[in-house]
């Protein structure tokens, strides 16, 4: 296998609190290949956004990150902050959830672009800046006639297109998109997803798409990682994971997604745990319909199902490490609405 473009190794991100830290990302490893679209899914509070921001080194004050984020073989976490910053933009881009709040209302669209390009590519002439900006905006469907307008003159979907263009104009190798369509209407959401799915074709960009909607993953991604309570519990090609989810959490998430084909409503009891003091053993065991005795006691060990799939669940072994009687169903109290998400 060739070296992945972006390789995250044993990344941990902790948020400081007055007591014990919140372990929002806890020993996560993930690869993203060139021109690959990887979906990162999970419920709110599972650490998806923190992982996305950890990759870019954009963590709030009070957060601490350790591990490796390797881009083209360079570990960004070893670099001094000023050198890391030079990677952000030209190499690693970020698209946020709320397009309304990310554009400066006092700046024209043209000024957003010239500021960005001048910061990262000071040698570009004004003509080149305009040409490149208009080209990128055009591919996102924003006509050149609107280049001198202000953000308030655009609709929500147009603003998100502008945000994407603003990230792409620097031609990053990897783009992290954190719920890029959550605040958009369903038709506009479809339009933006089509643009994102075409990024690899049109811009050669790899994409990490963070979402809670599995429909979006099915539509736009090549590979997917499922995150629960700070850990990646399953990873694999989208088709394989949807056809045969290996982790009970993935299966339950799939069952609770409401689509036109849904025949009956389903939900996962309880809610993701508090990440200050997560449950012992497998973190999903209190909500897991398949939980065994071993799940409450021992932390599961990552298993490879095949070359491209891995899962963190005792159902997939290793059997020799399960103590005798460990495979019996776990007896526990029913989960009430008191613990609901």
């Amino acid at each position: 296998m060739t070296e992945p473009l972006l390789s995250i190794r044993h990344l941990r991100v902790y948020y400081g609190t007055s007591g014990d830290p919140v372990r929002a990302v806890d020993d996560v490893s993930l690869d993203i290949g060139e021109r690959e679209v990887v979906g990162l899914v999970g419920e709110s509070g599972c650490g998806k956004s923190t992982l996305g921001r950890g990759i870019l080194g954009l963590l709030p004050y009070g957060a601490r990150a350790v591990g490796e984020v390797n881009l083209d073989g360079q570990n960004l976490y070893e670099l001094p902050p000023s050198a890391f910053r030079r990677f952000r933009g030209p190499q690693l881009g970020l698209i946020f959830q709320e397009p309304m709040t990310r554009l400066n209302p006092l700046m024209r669209i043209s000024e957003h672009f010239s500021e960005t390009l001048k910061q990262h590519e000071p040698k570009l002439s004004d003509g080149d800046i305009k040409r490149r900006s208009l080209e990128t905006l055009g591919r996102m469907g924003i006509p050149p006639t609107r280049y001198e307008q202000y953000p308030h003159e655009f609709s929500g979907g147009m603003r998100q297109r502008i945000m994407i263009a603003l990230a792409l104009v620097l031609r990053p190798k990897v783009l992290v998109a954190d719920e890029p369509t959550t605040s958009l209407d369903v038709i506009v959401e479809g339009q933006i997803l089509a643009l994102l799915a075409d990024l690899k074709k049109n811009f050669g960009t790899a994409l990490l798409l963070i979402t809670h909607n599995l429909g979006i993953v099915a539509e736009a991604c090549d590979r997917m990682a499922v995150m629960y309570a700070g850990k990646i519990v399953e990873e694999g090609p989208v088709r394989d994971v949807f056809r045969e989810p290996a982790h009970p959490y993935t299966r339950e998430l799939l069952r609770s997604t409401i689509s036109l084909e849904t025949k009956e409503l389903h939900s996962i009891p309880g809610s993701p745990p508090n990440l200050i003091d997560p449950p012992p053993g497998c973190r999903f065991h209190p909500r897991c319909p398949n939980a065994m005795r071993v799940c409450a006691e021992l932390v599961p060990i990552e298993q490879r199902l095949d070359e491209r799939r891995r899962v963190l669940c005792w159902l997939h072994g290793p059997e020799q490490l399960v103590p005798s009687g460990g495979e019996l169903p776990l007896e526990r109290e029913a989960i009430g609405i008191a613990d609901e998400a």
Binding site: I187, I258, S259, I268
Partner: protein
């Protein structure tokens, strides 16, 4: 002209009479323009948020009101709740007229009509305990005075909404609860007065997928137990499918399709309904097909398109749909966006000149071009040859250059009206027998 005498409508028994009957309802907002406009007392315009909607909500049914942002669905809900004033038309609730009521009359009525909003975090006062929040309506309406009585009733509704034992929640604050629990509290507060009608405005769209089903199930159980009637406002036809007996699809202030839910899902008639259904991502990569989505977004309701409001985005639009100046502008703009950076685009922009002359809606366009007029017509012919299937071209009746200008006449715009087609009513020229397709 004297109106023809009409036979008095049959007097339906109270059981079959609709609970809510809305006729030609209009809710307009006026836009405050610039400072100068205000000094001069000018109004910058009006937004027809709800523009002539007629519909019934039958007792015990769930009516889904579906559309994108800007469709007017939320404004219609708010008008029914008396939170915004209707500009015209009528709405009756249990036979009483609601328009033109005073605020205090509305207050009495709100015992019967309650609401659940989209954002449970914003719907609860962070400084009120759950007991205060849920019991507040009882105090406002002075239905119960003793603290013990109120507390007992609060516990009862909390438990009815799944928050059991209710006593455990009384002293909690909204910040102690998860999103799903907060929405349960909001629903408990809405049912504590035993309302007849519940307006639910996107009650699950802010919640995680894993809890949406639970809240929908709760709402269905409450409907059964309390014999509620719902107006379910949403942009999501997937959740509406589980919930609604009938569906009304709104676009830019108007109902474009309305009928039994089954009929609408089985055979959507309006191209907009079809688009909304197509746009829902299917969580099955084996079935993911490239989707044909309508271009663009919901237009500005202050200046709606001529003719059918959906025509600029509609893949099936044809001659009578209301083609006009702004569609020509859009044609140029999307062409130049697609080809930005390629040679020739700047020349085309220079040739056509300022597009702002096309901003005013009109089905007759004069582009002042002088000697360049034939060149512009030539450009339009070239664009047409590149994609003759583009619906826009069907809208042009006449296009020619004279010595001063390019003159384009579009076909006369016709506004579609709701017509019965099979089991549903649709407002679309495709189904209008008086319009024959060329």
């Amino acid at each position: 002209m004297r109106p023809e005498p009409v036979a008095p409508p049959p007097q339906p028994g109270p059981e079959d009479a609709p609970l809510v009957s809305v006729r030609d309802l209009k809710t307009y907002y006026s836009i405050r323009g610039s400072f100068i406009d205000r000094l001069a007392g000018r109004e910058a315009g009006i937004v027809r948020a709800v523009d002539g909607v007629s519909l019934d909500i039958r007792r015990g049914e769930v009516l889904g009101l579906v559309g994108e942002s800007g469709s007017g669905k939320t404004t219609l809900g708010r008008t029914l709740l008396g939170l915004v004033r209707a500009t015209g038309g009528s709405m009756q609730f249990e036979g009483q007229e609601l328009t033109g009521r005073s605020e205090s009359e509305w207050r009495d009525l709100r015992r019967e009509i309650q609401v659940v909003f989209q954002d449970p975090h914003a719907s609860l006062n962070p400084a009120m305990t759950i007991e205060q929040a849920v019991g507040h309506p009882l105090q406002i309406h002075r239905l119960m005075r003793s603290k013990e009585q109120i507390r007992a009733r609060v516990i009862e509704v909390l438990e009815h909404c799944g928050l059991a034992p209710g006593a455990d929640y009384l002293d909690k604050y909204p910040s102690d609860l998860s999103g799903g629990q907060k929405q349960r509290v909001v629903i408990a507060r809405a049912i504590i007065l035993n309302p007849v009608l519940l307006v639910a405005d996107e009650p699950v769209s802010m919640l995680d997928m894993s809890v949406r089903a639970k809240i929908l199930e709760l709402m269905m159980a409450l409907k059964r137990d309390l014999e509620l009637t719902y107006l379910y406002i949403t942009h999501d036809l997937a959740t509406a499918r589980f919930f609604c007996d009938r569906i009304a699809i709104m676009y830019l202030g108007k109902v474009v399709e309305i009928g039994p839910a089954e009929a609408i899902y089985a055979d959507p008639k309006h191209p907009y309904t079809q688009a909304l259904l197509h746009a829902i991502p299917e969580p099955d990569p084996e079935r993911a097909v490239p989707r044909d989505l309508p271009r663009g977004e919901v237009p500005d309701a202050a200046m709606p398109p001529l003719g059918c409001p959906f025509h600029p985005r509609c893949p099936s639009a044809f001659e009578p749909c209301g083609w006009e100046s702004r569609d020509l502008r859009e044609l140029f703009e999307s062409r130049w966006a697609l080809a930005a950076g390629e040679p020739g685009v700047e020349e085309e922009q220079a040739l056509v000149g300022d597009l702002d002359v096309l901003a005013r809606p009109s089905s007759k366009v004069r582009l002042t071009a002088g000697r360049k007029a034939p060149e512009i017509v030539g450009l339009l012919d070239r664009i047409r040859a590149e994609d003759p299937a583009e619906p826009f071209w069907r809208g042009i009746e006449r296009m020619e250059a004279d010595e001063l200008s390019v003159n384009i006449d579009f076909h006369e715009p016709h506004e579609p009206q709701l017509e019965q087609v099979g089991e549903v009513e649709v407002s679309c020229h495709l189904y209008d027998p008086t319009i024959t397709q060329a």
